[in-house]
């Protein structure tokens, strides 16, 4: 209990210390405090994980009653189980690395202390999210990470693009949150509880219920609830069509791109679905929906990475694509594989981002890859670690990403879920595309000749140790972690207490049955799956195009040109949202304000009634000539009339 509380609340404490009292402490103290906080968190999470591995006991802890309305209990509490601990270890580790890295990256920034306060606050929010034992707190963490993400994307608040991006990120996320909150509402309506344990024990009361949202159509409550929750996840994990905020979020400083927009926050959606697996499992429609969305995202977002020239954006699209992979894994009920890929991805993607950040610092805030090249010699540590990250990302045999991605592909391949065949092929093509854009990035940045004109190569030198140390530390799990944990996590049923897979969706079991150790897994990959060959093909193609500068045959050129326009415009999603949705909403608002509020209600009803009174009175005022004799006459006429009454 104490361990858990310190794990979660020490980053908050440090964040408040640094954020509120930032004026009174030195820069040095601010990073020492926050790093210490996250370090304590990390140690606590490792200790808790260790405890858990020994005792195998899931703890459900009530912190306090948030509010009790009738029989509905809104509580704040923690669920310490395999899933939350695995996530926590990864999050605190990456967060720690990012904290250290930030010392170097943000060294000369005005908002140095603010930044540390934010990322510690983020760590706290994320931990609240994953340790939550109820949907209320989960939603709290969910929104809190959104808030910190908003603040961090707009960290450089003077940049117009940054403040546009953060608003976009928050609002798009809110669209997802609408789904999430409706999902919660459905669950509360049927089960009367927000506590995860109680919800799962009362799933029978929601199963088989029908909801009719629009008249003359009804759906299964489970399906609607699952899809609603998944819409929430789509927002946070940037699945199509709610993905548009993630590439723009790269306006934020690089450390947070690594922490929030690659390793942790964006995976909250994956976590949510994994957490809610007992509910999701009840609806195969929802599962198929998740699968399709995931694989579409994986394929199409990867393609966009091919045409980006901003080093961070390429990685951002890669993140989108990888999130699509994880989602697809959830769609085939291979939650454990999804979370497994989440964890390995967390490490190597953070590594890639931090590596990119290192390049950016070395080139003095240059992000355009067309201005780079040949940095291999100048930035050896960055190069090596970046290479490791890339190999892990493309799934080079033996690297961490290889295991998770291959398991994932196998799971989709073996699944009987609706749409799994299509997904499988999309994901396979995704492997090729992943390799293409990753290798393109690698070749363009580190190979060839240096192309920048305004920053001489001579001035480029390796970044300080606070930057490279996290790279090295992250490189280690990026190589080995996948191989190390595949055995217990996937095959050993580590998640059995936290994730529920219904008997008819046990496709992964076939794969587990034929698994005989890491080495055989690698050998099996060469035999059983085309993925590895696609990956090698990808390396070959990209070597030809971007290293050897081998130009494509003419007939492809026009086709590629056309595709490139589509890709550069990001499939026109932004156009759709900005020019069609936003503009028309504003136009509608103006219209409503002008015609309904100002004209109809105010002019016609409010001022109209006033005007009617005025018109009547302007007629009657003519009776008031102010003529004394007339007044006297009226007086006298009335006197005569009353006298007539009196005498009659």
């Amino acid at each position: 209990m104490h361990l858990l509380l310190s794990l979660i609340f020490i980053p908050l404490l440090m964040s408040i210390l640094v954020g509120v009292f930032g004026d009174f402490i030195s820069k040095r103290l601010s990073h020492v405090l926050t790093i210490l906080g996250v370090l304590i968190s990390f140690i606590c999470s490792i200790m808790l994980l260790n405890d858990f591995l020994i005792t195998q006991q899931t703890q459900d802890i009530l912190l306090f009653n948030w509010s009790i309305i009738g029989e509905i209990e809104f509580q704040i509490g923690f669920l310490v189980d395999s899933l939350s601990l695995a996530m926590a270890s990864m999050i605190t580790f990456v967060s720690l690395m990012v904290h250290i890295y930030t010392i170097g990256y943000m060294e000369h920034d005005e908002g140095y202390k603010r930044f540390f306060s934010y990322i510690s606050l983020f760590t706290f929010s994320m931990l609240m999210l994953i340790f939550s034992n109820n949907l209320l707190q989960l939603f709290f963490g969910w929104e809190a990470v959104g808030l910190v993400s908003y603040l961090l994307i707009g960290f450089w608040f003077k940049k117009p693009s940054a403040i546009n991006a953060n608003m976009k990120a928050f609002i798009v996320n809110r669209v997802g949150d609408l789904g999430f909150i409706i999902g919660i509402a459905i669950i509360v309506y049927y089960t009367g509880s927000l506590h995860l344990g109680e919800i799962f024990s009362q799933l029978t009361s929601i199963e088989g219920q029908l909801i009719s949202i629009l008249p003359s159509s009804s759906w299964h409550a489970v399906t609607v609830a699952s899809i609603c929750l998944f819409i929430g996840a789509m927002g946070k994990s940037a699945q199509m069509p709610l993905h548009v905020w993630l590439p723009d979020s790269m306006e934020g400083p690089t450390p947070i791109s690594a922490l929030i927009h690659a390793a942790t926050m964006v995976t909250a959606g994956i976590f949510l679905i994994a957490r809610m697996s007992p509910l999701i499992e009840l609806s195969s429609i929802a599962l198929s929906f998740i699968l399709i969305i995931g694989s579409l995202t994986a394929f199409f977002m990867g393609l966009l990475g091919l045409v980006q020239n901003d080093i961070k954006r390429v990685i951002a699209y890669s993140t989108l694509s990888q999130l699509g992979y994880m989602t697809a894994a959830l769609g085939v009920s291979a939650y454990s594989v999804g979370v497994y890929h989440l964890i390995t991805h967390g490490f190597f993607k953070a590594l890639l981002f931090l590596g990119a950040g290192s390049v950016i610092i070395a080139l003095h805030h240059e992000q355009d890859i067309r201005q780079m090249g040949g940095l291999r010699k100048k930035l050896p540590i960055t190069y090596i670690t970046f290479l490791i990250g890339t190999l892990s990302l493309i799934g080079f045999p033996g690297f961490s990403g290889f295991f998770s991605k291959d398991t994932l592909l196998e799971a989709v391949h073996l699944s009987e879920q609706g749409g799994s065949h299509l997904s499988y092929y999309l994901l396979l093509m995704g492997v090729l595309i992943t390799t293409l854009y990753s290798m393109r990035l690698l070749f363009l940045v580190f190979y060839g000749s240096y192309r920048s004109t305004h920053y001489p190569l001579a001035k480029v030198h390796e970044t300080p140790w606070v930057v490279t140390l996290p790279l090295l530390l992250l490189a280690i799990p990026s190589i080995f972690l996948g191989g190390l944990i595949i055995d217990p996590m996937i095959m050993g049923g580590y998640f059995s207490g936290a994730i529920f897979v219904s008997p008819e969706n046990q496709s992964l079991q076939e794969f587990i049955d034929i698994y005989h150790g890491v080495i055989e897994f690698i050998i099996h990959a060469f035999v059983a799956s085309p993925a590895i060959y696609l990956m090698l093909l990808g390396i070959l193609i990209s070597w030809l195009i971007w290293y050897k500068n081998y130009s494509l045959p003419k007939q492809f050129a026009s086709l590629i040109k056309m595709l490139e326009t589509v890709f550069k415009n990001k499939y026109y999603f932004d156009y759709l949202y900005e020019n069609i949705f936003s503009l028309n909403i504003i136009r509608l608002g103006k219209m409503l304000h002008k015609w309904v509020d100002a004209h109809l209600i105010d002019s016609v009803f409010v001022l109209g009634s006033a005007r009617t009174v005025q018109q009547i009175s302007s007629k009657t005022r003519q009776l008031h000539t102010g003529d004394l004799t007339q007044v006297a006459l009226i007086f006298f006429v009335l006197l005569v009339i009353f006298t007539a009454f009196w005498i009659s």
């Binding site: 309305i69 009738g70 209320l136 707009g154 608040f157 509360v188 309506y189 009367g192 949202i213 409010v606």
Partner: protein, 498 residues
Amino acid sequence: MFSSYLLSSLVWMPIGFGFLHIIFNSYKLSESLAKIFSLAFNIPLIYLGILLYQQFDSNNPAFQLTERFAWMPFLNADYYLGVDGISMPLILLTLLLTPAALLAGFNSSKGKYSNYAGMLFLLEGMMIGVFLSLDALLFYFFWEALLIPMFLIIGIWGGPQRIYATLKFFLYTFFGSIFMLIALIYLYIKSGSYAIESFYGLPLTETSQFWIFLAFFIAFAIKIPMWPVHTWLPDAHVEAPTGGSVILAAVLLKMGGYGFLRFSLPIVPQASADLSMVVIVLSLIAITYIAFVALVQSDVKKLIAYSSIAHMGFVTLGIFSIFHIDSFDLSLLAIQGGMFQMISHGLISGAMFFAIGVLYDRLHSRNIADFGGVINAMPKFAALFVFFGFANIGLPGTSGFVGEFFVILATFAVHPLVSILAGTTLVFGASYTLWMIKRSIWGEPSSIRIENLKPMDLRESLVLIFLAIGVLALGIWPAMLTDLTSASLTELIQRLGL
């Protein structure tokens, strides 16, 4: 002495202070002394509030600490005060927000601070009177009487269009109240007494219930305000001085919601149930339609005023949803949501208007286009402003979340569409608030005046920090409010036979 006449003290002490301030003004008391007095006067009031909180038994749904004396025996009207779980939080809110409104007027009262403080104290006493009155005639007396100080606050210390705004405000609300008076007189004739309790459970025919509901509805809907009788609010807010806006948004609007809970629901339950769908639809229109309108406002006070209307939509939605919810727990959740939203909106919108006042005092503009990049010169203010912005959006952890969350959860039982439409506020609320924040707070300083803004002084920071703590506390531990109201609201629902 105060403890035995606690409620009367709460009503009359501020009124006495108000008159004292007006007397001060005629004796040409110095401005700074008047300021000190006005703050010092709050100490006994807050103390009374604490006493009230201590003596209040939140498990008892009935009216407590009642005081009853014959007032107008020939009309059977009594001087009858009492407090229950519904009025309790509103009184605390009034006591807390009045100092904020007083502080807001320190530099913007056009050299007539003493009068300004006098008006606010009068207003405070009368608002507490509205919430405490258990006699309909007394209620009506306070309800109407408080228009006068409010009218004067807007009319004297307001902006350039203040005469138009005050007249609109006055006529709109006065128009509504007339119908309420008619309904009250009818009920008096039926029951033979003006005590509100005697109205409860009167055997009224369906037709008379309908008309009484309608009369109450007009009065309370204008006050709260609901679409389509909301147009007085933006004008009144825009022209009102900061303190006036704070009180108007924080407390005055709540009188409408309070009226629904105290009058409409228990007196005419049948008509309330019959017409609840109309109210729900109007509330949903308020939530969605107003969000669109708020999005395009260029005047920041107008924007917040419109967002107030949308937020008050949740109050009426929560209150009237209970007729369509089968489960008792969810009914209670809905009505608690409405109640919570009232208090939370009081804190948040009060703080928002105060914050806008801080900017207005420096820039003399309310136009969003004239702001921009405020964070560069006033980082602490920007932090607090963004905080309240997020509270306005309803971020979990702030009080703004709780009410919306409760209502959205509960209204799913009415119909999924109701819940979804109510939920759109998540998106639209975020859109207009963040867009406003983006244009006013973030970015490069838009002009030299923004660059030279002087940072917040102690007075301004204290008020905002204090309100921020309140917003956070209610967001982190809403039980302190829901426990207070729970018994009374439970009884209300049971009275309705749901």
